[in-house]
Symmetry: D2
Subunit: 352 residues, 4 copies
């Protein structure tokens, strides 16, 4: 790589080839050598420390597609990434070499209507890690624009730094939900996103954080991560329980949870649909109209890493304890199947 | 009335009884004498000039209920009202007597959480005209709080003044939709609300106003009221036509129109559901999530009459030409059935 | 009182006369018997527990006026109040009797443009405690509308409950300043309001909280209440130090601090002027224009007590330790002069 | 140019040198040949049609600087530009060649915090036309990024197209001022910006548009461009006249007008300072605080040309009649001095 691009600056030897876990078919994953990515003038090369496993990685692994995105050529998964800068492009200060960073895994076009308006997450020409045909970070190195390699303070571990990505999802959710000191919020689903949302809601000042989940184990866990109350939706009819919350967040993808959760929202409140469950759902339209409820969804994030870093560095959000499995690159497949263990929460891959 | 309440001020003789069109059962409507309403200290008595017929009036007339609101006792319909103040309560300046006014037909509690927050339309203790058990204005007189009797400038006719009420619905819709100079908007349905929304969108500065309707006659009419383009949804697939609008407004109540209309919205755009069609509808959730579209509804209005008066007085919105039928109190039933004529748009009742 | 108004409900004997500390001239304060206030149908009578002393109380005490508000008749000072409900009006549930409450010391007209819009703090007909000619709460009892008697959870002490009033000022400030997780904020002045603002900024998620004050003792204190950095403005030129903060809050009233603080704000940031110092100030207009900075002020509060109660009950804001002096009604004058001790922070009067 | 950059596409002969009016010292302006600008891959080359003269051009011409921006090398003035695309960079569709366009005369860095947030006008690395050391458009050709060359519909003349730039200032102002149907607005100053603001306020729906100016001729002109009332501030004390406007816009740069205008704003209203008059001004702080008025300024614009094009194409804003002087390149100096004629409003230079 270095020889190809003499304008790059590097402080240490970076091999021309690196090891990567490559998905070549459904459930077909193999570690093999691939070219170390080249670095454009405004980019940095990151030696990967830790990579969290996301539900979308697992979905590509098992199904080879998510909606219109189809894996048609070998693909490297993984988009929750931390590491250390080992080389920089010609427009980036060499002083960045050696920095520990969290990667915001997106590359927007910077020019389109959405980018110009500050909604770069909605850029139609986005190149996002681990979304076909863009490679992710189950590999020794990855490349990212310098502004999306976010400098880490020491107290944040490599694992927590990787998990700033799902925390960014939660921050976007809380912003959309308008959560502020004193708010009440209902969260459906106590999986990784639900748990991080509960913590983030608390950090945003929510006074009442109600979490629903079918599994007792998951409900109990939610109580240790910020929930002030948990509900088994088979015991309490969420739709009619008069929860009267400012905001409802769905982190379950369940159409029933979405329907009932919206009915729990107070007048002028908000529902944010984060969980992916069905391309179409039936919603309580009359309730939405009569109470002027706002329903929306989120698609990734824009300008969240600085806030995420603060929430973790200040101890308001705990990401470290969410990691329930650690795997090397050879066992990336096991990491991708770790969600089959109901006691597990978050798997992390260590490519180096 | 006057004798009962010596603190009221009145400039002319107001009879103790008045004629009203009373709904006593499904499609059972009869003009009969009822007590003229008494005036509280902060209220005014209005001699009714014109009353528009709304779809909700027609619905109560035919079905005896709308959702949870059931006509269980004789009810006076009509909530789109103009008239002249003939008496005032003790806390109201007698100088108001004689004023031509448009009535904002609601009486909120002023104290609850919603009222204190400025969302008085969402007050749970709202007493709204022609919503059981609160009487409306198919009668010679009606009573309203002084702040909701909006002074009319001369150029606005009695009929137009009555129709400031549906215009208030349209203004609320445009505010929620974020319509501003240069916006593009898709409106489903070219009935009275759709037509007023098209005009209001133009007044709010919308550059592209696309209206869909199944009926050619209604599409043609939309073109004379602000639409820049009309679509027959049987000819053009709205969902896939890449209309890329900032906002979608449903004024049809059709679940198909709602589904397709939301798919026509651009990233970060808005859908406002005004039409009443079904208590539940199936929405394109994945599209809402991926494009971060905001979906909401409206429930009446707050702080709209001053803007409505300006839009009509300045000629930006034409309400007069929407009136296609005029009826006296004896023929209120015919007015309520006027919607059966596809060429009709808006019926008005003259109680005096 | 009770005999006069048979519609009131009371659970315990309330005397017709009560002891109050009455201001009859500049620095002329005397405890004397006055009529216990009567209770309207939507009000409650509160037996006062604790009353915080505010700078405005001190100002009336020393100068007999604040701007256009002049003490022209005997006045009871004190508007930071907690207590217990001992009687209720006819429209209030008797179940409220016995409740510990914090008083939101305002009575708005509920009808005007500002009230209807949810900005009841800006009501032009506001009757506010301890603002001529409205009495405050340096007395055994006070009266307040039921919706502004906010129920207290047990963990909040009487003193902290009284200080929810200045906390409400801080909450309003943080809302106006747009403080959210990760924000940076500069606060000028480490008096009571500055100290509570620093704590509230932290609770709203601010990452960097810079406090300036001329007094070393006050700067040190700020560090124990949330400040992440303190600055002596004689050592560091705040205007040119490139602090690049999202928001500046003035809690000093110093024109120099305001000028320099605004220059420390980043593009599109906000300055909120809370401190009262001069009716006119010179601002860096070119800087405001070139960076599109928003400058505003606050006037009391609307809808803040629920959030304030949560912040204190959850331990995010500590009000108890701010109290540095306690006085009975006889020594209210000493309480009003307690600000002369630079080591003091907040005085509290106990009328019963 | 073309020979230097083989990746450019051009449809017609573009000379390597062009004529330009170059400012080489205070009031020293000379037409001389300079290199035709080269076109980067994402840019287009525009053959200039019309260029409006702005007060900032005149200021550089007379004083050689504006604040920290100093003319230290020969500079081409002019930033209100229309023309026709004659060449495009390699990343731009050749189909754009021949398009009539209005130029948004800025080139932001696309990467910084402000750009990423959608506030590209606040980019600290902005390269703006006619701001040292960046050349403007008093020349035969100019270059601009493709997304900032806004396609013009036929009805918009070259002159009006150039004046979309000051219209963009007015649109930004109305957005900041929150002007919507029914608003009331006070505008100080009836120069070009004030006149365009009055028209734009009307297009945004303002019901009451009050314009102040010392000159009767200018006040009269304001009445023909949207003002509903004009005031000579020597006759009416704006500060105490209880104008009670939603928004105040200063387009005068006069400290007195700014002070008085802010005092005319209603509670929770807004003041937007557009005029450049003094780097510091004295503001009525107590009034700003007591009424919670928001004061801000604007710095250029972001995302305004589409709305501007609509307002002109639909006839809501008339820019053509504002042009009171036309000059060729040789007489650019006369154009820059045209503001000395009190009857003049807007001068336009035709470089070709």
């Amino acid at each position: 790589m270095v020889t190809d691009n003499p304008t790059n600056v590097t402080a240490m030897a970076v091999p021309e080839q690196m090891q990567a876990s490559v998905l070549s078919g459904i459930q077909e994953l193999r570690v093999e050598p691939v070219s170390t990515p080249s670095v454009a003038s405004d980019e940095v090369l990151v030696r990967v420390a830790a990579v969290g496993v996301c539900g979308s990685d697992t979905h590509y692994f098992r199904h080879g597609r998510i909606g219109d995105f189809v894996v048609e050529a070998p693909l490297i998964l993984g988009h929750e990434v931390s590491g250390r800068i080992v080389a920089v492009g010609s427009d980036v200060s060499p002083a960045r070499i050696g920095e520990r960073v969290a990667v915001e895994p997106q590359k927007n076009c910077r020019r389109c209507r959405e980018c110009r308006a500050g909604r770069y997450n909605l850029c139609r020409r986005m190149e996002f890690y681990a979304t076909p045909p863009i490679d992710g970070a189950f590999a020794q190195y990855c490349v990212i624009r310098t502004e999306f390699a976010h400098t880490l303070p020491d107290p944040i571990s490599d694992e927590a730094a990787a998990l700033l990505e799902p925390l960014s999802v939660a921050i976007t959710t809380m912003r959309k939900a308008g959560v502020a000191p004193g708010s009440s919020i209902l969260i459906a689903g106590a999986g990784p996103i639900g748990i991080i949302c509960a913590q983030t809601a608390r950090a945003f000042g929510a006074a009442d954080i109600i979490v629903t989940d079918l599994a007792a184990q998951r409900r109990d866990r939610a109580l240790t991560y910020g929930a002030t109350r948990v509900i088994d939706p088979r015991d309490v009819d969420v739709a009619s329980a008069d929860l009267d919350v400012h905001a409802f967040v769905d982190a379950s993808g369940s159409p029933e949870a979405v329907f009932d959760g919206i009915k729990a929202v107070r007048p002028a409140g908000t529902a944010v649909l984060v969980g992916l469950g069905a391309s179409e759902m039936t919603l309580p339209i009359e309730h939405i109209q009569n109470l002027e409820i706002t329903v929306t969804g989120i698609f990734r994030y824009a300008d969240t890493w600085p806030a995420a870093i603060h929430l973790v560095a200040s101890g308001q959000v705990d990401l470290d304890s969410l990691v329930t499995g650690r795997f090397d690159l050879e066992h990336a497949g096991d990491a991708l199947n770790a969600d089959l263990d109901p006691a597990g929460l978050k798997a992390v891959v260590y490519p180096n």
